[in-house]
Amino acid sequence: MTRFRCAIHIVPRRGILDPQGKAVADALHSLGFADVSDVRVGRHVIVETEATTADAARARVTAMCEKLLANPVTEDFEIASVEHA
């Protein structure tokens, strides 16, 4: 077994109102970043886990996202990286 460090991005699903993202976008606009068209604020989760291969670790973390880390009703998740810890 090898220890893997898995990074996960969880963001509000497109089309679902994200007031936090909107507040940040408004603040960026008032700072002069007029080019900003959309901001969504989510969570970044790092899970360290033991697995035989990186693919196996990825599969485990995907299951964790589906079961707990992300809400399937309102959020999308993405496994951003799986690296040897």
């Binding site: 007031p19 507040a23 707990l68 009703v73 309102t74």
Partner: protein, 234 residues
């Protein structure tokens, strides 16, 4: 009737719910500890308001996996009545007992104020003592109360008469200005398809005494008792 009030670490409306059952209804009430597996033969389960597990990850997300919730889910699937208030509504959604999710208020502000609700369905064991279209005042106190669901789910909830309470203005209209949190369709409370699980963001247990400004929560608890007595007779 015997009601069980679940206590999670961070529950803070558990004593109010106990008071509603024991003192206002004069019925038996027991606390159910989150680590227990025993529902103690209760007839109804109340998931009270609060901040279970500190609202970590998402409101209700961790509570949903506590030992007692596995029993509550099985109880609900057998048709047992479950009332989820505020954090209890969030937990019921996370547990899959109710569809949708409760997200951060659109204003990004915690809202603590009396809310005007219209009773949209009396065909539930929680609302039979109201009349349809009745406008009532029940306080809300939450930061994550924006009911959200996909278009299919909303259509099903509306079509099956499962929206039980809606936020309305002084004219009884479900206007945007009456909506304290940005809930889709001004939804304040819903039931599951079998109509034995009610989730609502407002706090009926805080509206039982004139001293507290409203007694409009009384018929809700009376409805639960009434449905239990009807069941015993049948």
């Amino acid at each position: 009737m015997k009601a069980g009030i679940v206590r999670f670490p961070g529950s803070n409306c558990d004593e109010d719910a106990f008071h509603a059952i024991a003192d206002h209804l004069g019925q038996d009430a027991v606390y159910l500890w989150h680590k227990d597996h025993d529902l103690q033969n209760v007839d109804v389960v109340i998931l009270p308001g609060g901040f279970s597990y500190g609202d970590y990850l998402r409101a209700g997300a961790i509570a949903r996996f506590s030992p007692i919730m596995q029993e509550v889910i099985a109880f609900a699937k057998r048709g047992g009545p479950v009332l989820g208030i505020c954090n209890g509504f969030q937990i019921a959604c996370e547990a899959g007992l109710l569809p949708g999710a409760l997200l951060r208020n659109a204003s990004l502000r915690f809202v603590s104020a009396p809310a005007r609700l219209r009773v949209e369905s009396i065909a539930t064991r929680f609302t039979s003592q109201y009349h349809i279209g009745q406008v009532i005042s029940i306080p809300v106190a939450h930061g994550d109360g924006r009911f959200t669901a996909d278009a299919d789910t909303l259509a099903r909830l509306e079509g099956d008469g499962r929206v039980v309470f809606r936020y309305v203005d002084a004219d009884g209209e479900s206007s945007a200005s009456a909506n304290p949190n940005g809930s889709l369709r001004n939804i304040a409370g819903i039931v599951n398809a079998d109509r034995n699980v009610l989730g609502m963001m407002p706090h009926p247990e805080r509206a039982l005494d004139v001293t507290l400004g409203s007694t409009d929560g009384v018929p809700l608890f009376a409805s639960i008792l009434e449905s239990m007595l009807a069941e015993v007779k049948a």
